[in-house]
Amino acid sequence: MSGDSSFLAQPGRRAAIPIMVLLLLGFVAPLLAVVGFSFMPPRTFGLWHEPSLENYERIFSDNTYVSLLWSLGLASLTVVLLALICYPVAYGLVRVFGRWSTALTLLFTIPLIVSENIRLYGWVLFFIKGGVLPGTLKALFGVEMGDFLFTPAAVLFGMVYVYLPFMLFPMTLGIAMVPNQMREAARDLGASRWQVFREVELPLSTPGLMIGSLLTFVLAVGAIAEAKVLGGQRIIPITHDIEIAFTYAQNWPLGAALAVLLMLVVSVLVLTVLKRFDLDQILGKR
């Protein structure tokens, strides 16, 4: 990147211009619009008012942090739970199905063609009073199920369920990419199965874990339907705040400021993590 006299000296970069222009129009322009809106006075609808910091001041003075903390907390918990759930599953898949395992995990993405809301409503019917689970428990064992639906736990459940494929796929890929010879070499050097796992397989599959975690974290921070449908709005994630600002409240500048804040927080978190764990180094690339 450095010593080049002209950025466009390389043909590759010149070929990339159409893509860059597209990205600029399709991605950067709306983003700039949102940033611009965030500096407009509250409850205005154009970009040509005198800029103000009022929205940001309001965010920091009222209880917006509650929503932000819920979003970040639930997303982090989701990532942790997904890592704990998906790793053994991915590991088993790779062990049993070898190089077909990655293709197999794609099967887990099939439910994605059904809208997220519909799948979540399915779970509402599963957990609701007299629904599939409580009904079965009562009929078979005579036990009353405690409250689960419309609690934060239900939200977490929904998020884990919805984002599972996004963790499983990169993770399986990560584990499948560990060369078998690494395992054999470690074993040959005296490592037990557990030691092979701990010393070789786990560290060498961290890129999959990292990519899966980042992906699910970013997606989960943007989650909204789970809290609405399964959580019964017991908690309000930041995305719901943004939605309210853009709809009922009709306070676009506030919504834009919330969106900018969320983007900033997530970017900083993701970049920090990426910096701490240099993927290339883990993968052993130069």
Binding site: K129, L149, K228, G232, T247, Y248, A249, A256
Partner: protein
């Protein structure tokens, strides 16, 4: 109409529309060739129902027109989109009663209809719509601003197996002040209506300016009601929770929201209009009437008025009443030609038996003077 299937995708759509609006408003005149012929094209901004294929397809084929309808779930959003530049995009706008007369006409977002042509339709409607119908007229009473069709009472809904209709009607909004109901009721997500409801529970009329004491009472009530609720959700969630017994009643709701469940045979679920309450004249509940107006679009489509006439047809009006999602009474039921199309089950679903008395006990939806302030309090209370 108050259903809110708002998901992340919708949120993205909303954000995208912000950007689109931006582009449209900035490039306004360049967005489209100046005088493109639009006589085969119609864009409708509406509540759920008018965008259904059942309503639109016959119109599309008979006029071989390209009709686009986008449904939103609250009035201010629609109006603000016109304000932000989409006045160049839409031909018809379908919102609740006060907006045309109090906001859109004064701001020149809509334009009057030909009285001679459209007033006769009001003659055939139910008695309360007899011309000149207040919400269809401007302040001066000279201009006709839109057509009425769907309407209904909208206060709260109970499961009459758990709370009898009489108890609910007698106790009214105070029901939600009863500590015994904690954990047994839901709130239909519809923030503007929720604000009305909280005012009523707090014991004052939402549609007038509020004293600081009332605002404080509002905040206290909002927090308490939110704390005691079991679930906040959309229509489907409320009906499901009522049917399964998760909740006994829910705040904000009426024939519009409960009719799908009633049509499904759950006649024990019922929209309630309290006998008395804090509204003007001691009335107990709130009702809404949709007014559909022609947008003041510089290149408006001639099909806008054609469509308004089209939905007056008895068969089409019946279709609108039972369009997908929610079922509602329509003003055109005043015409026997239209009324006879409703089956007994359909009349049961929309609580035809008590519709007149409930409408009589209700004030009509109106604009809350300090809505922004109350709404901010309400939304902040959700997080405490």
């Amino acid at each position: 109409m108050f259903d809110s299937h708002l998901t992340r995708r919708n949120f993205m759509k909303t954000s995208a529309s912000v950007a689109a609006t931006l582009a449209a408003s900035q490039m306004g005149p360049f967005a489209r060739p100046a005088h493109a012929a639009r006589d085969k094209e119609l864009n409708i901004l509406c509540w759920e129902g008018y965008n259904s294929a059942q309503v639109l397809d016959p119109f599309r084929s008979s006029k071989s027109a390209n009709v686009k309808a986008e449904s939103l779930t609250n009035d201010p959003t629609m109006i603000n989109r016109l304000r932000a530049g989409e006045i160049n995009v839409w031909d018809l706008i379908n919102v609740n009663n006060p907006w045309a007369r109090k906001v859109m006409m004064p701001e020149k977002l809509i334009k009057p209809l030909d009285r001679a042509k459209f007033e006769p339709y009001f003659e055939k409607m139910l008695p309360q719509f007899k011309p000149p119908y207040k919400w269809a007229m401007d302040d001066s009473g000279k201009e006709l601003l839109g057509m009425a069709q769907r309407f209904g009472p909208y206060s709260f809904v109970v499961n009459t197996d758990k709370i009898s209709r009489k108890t609910a009607e007698d106790q009214g909004w105070d029901l939600f002040n009863d500590p015994k109901l904690a954990g047994r009721f839901g709130i239909l997500e519809s923030d503007d209506w929720n604000v009305f409801g909280i005012c009523a529970i707090a014991g004052f009329d939402p549609y007038k300016p509020h004293s600081p004491e009332e605002v404080a009472k509002f905040e206290e009530t909002a927090k308490r009601v939110l704390k005691n609720k079991k679930v906040v959700g959309d229509i489907a969630t409320m009906n499901q929770a009522l049917i399964s017994g998760e909740i006994d009643c829910h705040l904000t709701g009426g024939s519009y929201s409960v009719s799908p469940a009633r049509a499904d045979g759950h006649l024990n679920l019922r929209a309630i209009t309290p006998n008395k309450g804090p509204f003007a004249g001691g009335k107990g509940g709130i009702a809404w009437i949709e007014i559909t107006s022609v947008v003041n679009n510089p290149q408006g489509s001639p099909l806008a008025e054609t469509f308004l006439e089209y939905v007056q047809d008895p068969v089409v009006a019946h279709t609108v009443a039972f369009a997908e999602g929610t079922f509602n009474p329509v003003a055109q039921m005043g015409n026997p030609e239209c009324f006879k199309l409703f089956s007994k089950e359909q009349l049961d679903a929309i609580q035809w038996d008590s519709l007149d008395e409930e409408m009589a006990r209700s004030v009509e939806y109106d604009i809350v003077p300090d809505y922004d302030k109350l709404l901010d309090i309400w939304n902040a209370a959700k997080k405490s």
